[in-house]
């Protein structure tokens, strides 16, 4: 969960600025909710159980999970009020996430 923790504290600033943070993973809903409560984050968690949406976005890492399961490629996308992509980042190493400062910069530039 380091990926969400890393974003958490700093992005709460974006939340206060009226930006909705929508976190998508194949996790079941109850689990995501627990994670959010544990981190005390106001994220909106959406469950993409079969990775259908993740696949439509071209963000599946085939066989990248435990037991060779498909998992999402870690990605962060900033959309403006009109739903247009203004900035995005897709990890090439799953240990690496976008720097929250870069995400915030993109949010502030909207």
């Amino acid at each position: 969960m380091a990926e969400l923790q890393g974003l958490g504290a700093e992005l709460s600033e974006a939340e206060r600025a009226g930006v909705e943070i929508v976190a998508i993973s194949p996790d079941p809903n109850e689990r995501s909710q627990k994670v959010a409560e544990g981190l005390r984050l106001g994220y909106r968690f959406l469950a993409d159980r079969d990775l259908a949406v993740t696949r439509r976005y071209g963000l599946v890492h085939p066989g990248g999970g435990p037991d060779g399961r498909d998992v999402p490629r870690p990605a962060t996308v900033v959309l403006d009020r009109d739903g247009v992509v203004r900035w995005f980042s897709v990890s090439r190493n799953y240990q690496v996430r976008p720097d929250p400062a870069d995400v915030l910069r993109a949010v502030r530039a909207l």
């Binding site: 969400l4 943070i21 929508v22 993973s25 809903n29 870690p74 400062a101």
Partner: protein, 140 residues
């Protein structure tokens, strides 16, 4: 005699430095995982293990009487180097592929259930507020 003694001393010192560096790198990475600059430079621990291996090799070369600390340091650091490099450059690598994301364009719309089971559409936010979408691997 004097040089022998000095060499032995420096070997033990180098071996200790090697082990300290290798274990310190593991600890620092684990502790500072939330710090973006540490998390986003995982090759840092590989470099630290390589440095620890070089120090241990030097310790082995300089060892005179008591050789085992140097060999132990070399074993530990080279094991960590191989494991760390394999993890960082092979296991954790995410293959690149084209995405549906283009700056200046709308991404595909979707509807997914939220934590309470209510359907949420990306289009719901259009004209309402900006959105940061975070795709993540999940909690496993």
């Amino acid at each position: 005699m004097t040089t022998d003694f000095g060499a032995k001393g420096s070997s033990g010192w180098l071996a200790a430095l090697s082990v300290g560096l290798a274990i310190g790198a593991v600890g620092a990475y684990a502790l500072l995982l939330r710090v973006a600059i540490v998390r986003n430079h995982p090759e840092g621990y590989v470099v630290a293990f390589a440095l620890a291996t070089a120090l241990a090799a030097l310790a082995v070369v300089r060892a005179r009487a008591r050789r085992w600390p140097a060999w132990l340091a070399l074993g530990l650091s080279s094991l960590l180097l191989v494991a760390g490099a394999w993890f960082n450059f092979v296991v954790a690598r995410v293959p690149e592929a084209p995405t549906a994301l283009r700056v200046g364009e709308r991404p595909p719309d979707f509807t997914l259930p939220d934590a309470a089971g209510r359907p949420v559409s990306l289009a719901d936010y259009r004209g309402e507020k900006p959105v940061v979408l975070v795709f993540y691997r999940g909690y496993w």
